[in-house]
């Protein structure tokens, strides 16, 4: 499983993603259902930190964030 696939699984799968974008070190994603987030899976995929704010989840993944975001978009 690629890192993007692991992160997507940790975000609750493609049907849970409303929107995903990358800043320089983090993914910002709007989710349908925050309860489907699996933090251990995200941490296992190398997430340094996870921050929830309303329906938006930010996942700190490091400088590959833009690559990972585009790979996740390809999986949606």
């Amino acid at each position: 499983m690629s890192r993007a696939e692991q992160i997507l699984a940790g975000l609750g799968g493609s049907t849970n993603i409303v929107e995903i974008e990358a800043c320089i070190t983090r993914l910002r994603t709007a989710l349908q259902d925050m309860s489907l987030v699996d933090e251990p899976t995200l941490k296992g995929a190398g997430a340094h930190g996870i921050m929830r704010a309303g329906s938006v989840l930010q996942v700190v993944v490091g400088p590959e964030a833009d690559t990972i975001a585009s790979e996740i978009e390809d999986l949606l």
Partner: protein, 157 residues
């Protein structure tokens, strides 16, 4: 018997302004140190240049943020303003090439913190070391005026 001095990287301020702790950044991901240890600066308004805080390779260059990876290992991220990704580059001019080699003090981005504030965002700049287990050792107290390219903090590597 020889002893090797502990290696550290001195990180310069990319902008001129007032020094703050990274916990003061109005963004919880930076403030809680989830990206890494570091410092923050409230920049003075007006057209100005943000510079490289260390020697290294300009690994990532976005209009509002950049990452320089040192030959010694750590990467230092400079983030100009908060939520400035949503400005989509408006008000920022990139002066350097991604993947180029830079030295501390090299001009990277021209911008105006006053313009960022006019858009309703904080212009506070975060300077953080990625993937670093060690604390940033401040070289200036919080609240002190700091010049561009003046030592901001040091960090063990």
């Amino acid at each position: 018997m020889s002893r090797t001095a502990p290696a550290h990287v001195e990180v310069l301020s990319p902008v001129a302004g007032v020094r703050h702790d990274v916990s003061d950044v109005p963004d919880p991901v930076f403030a809680q140190g989830l990206v890494g240890p570091g410092a923050a600066i409230t920049p003075h308004p007006g057209d100005q240049v943000a510079v490289a805080p260390i020697d290294g390779t300009l690994t990532k260059l976005h209009p509002h943020a950049y990452l320089i990876v040192s030959d010694l290992g750590p990467g230092v991220l400079v983030h100009l303003g908060i939520d400035t990704v949503h400005m989509h580059g408006a008000g920022f001019t990139m002066l350097a090439q991604e993947h180029s080699t830079v030295t501390a003090g090299t001009a990277i981005i021209r911008w105006d913190p006053g313009y960022v504030e006019e858009t309703g965002r904080s212009a506070m700049c975060a300077v953080v070391v990625l993937d670093c287990p060690f604390p940033a050792v401040p070289l200036q107290p919080s609240g002190r005026e700091i010049d561009m390219a003046q030592p901001l903090f040091k960090i063990d590597v």
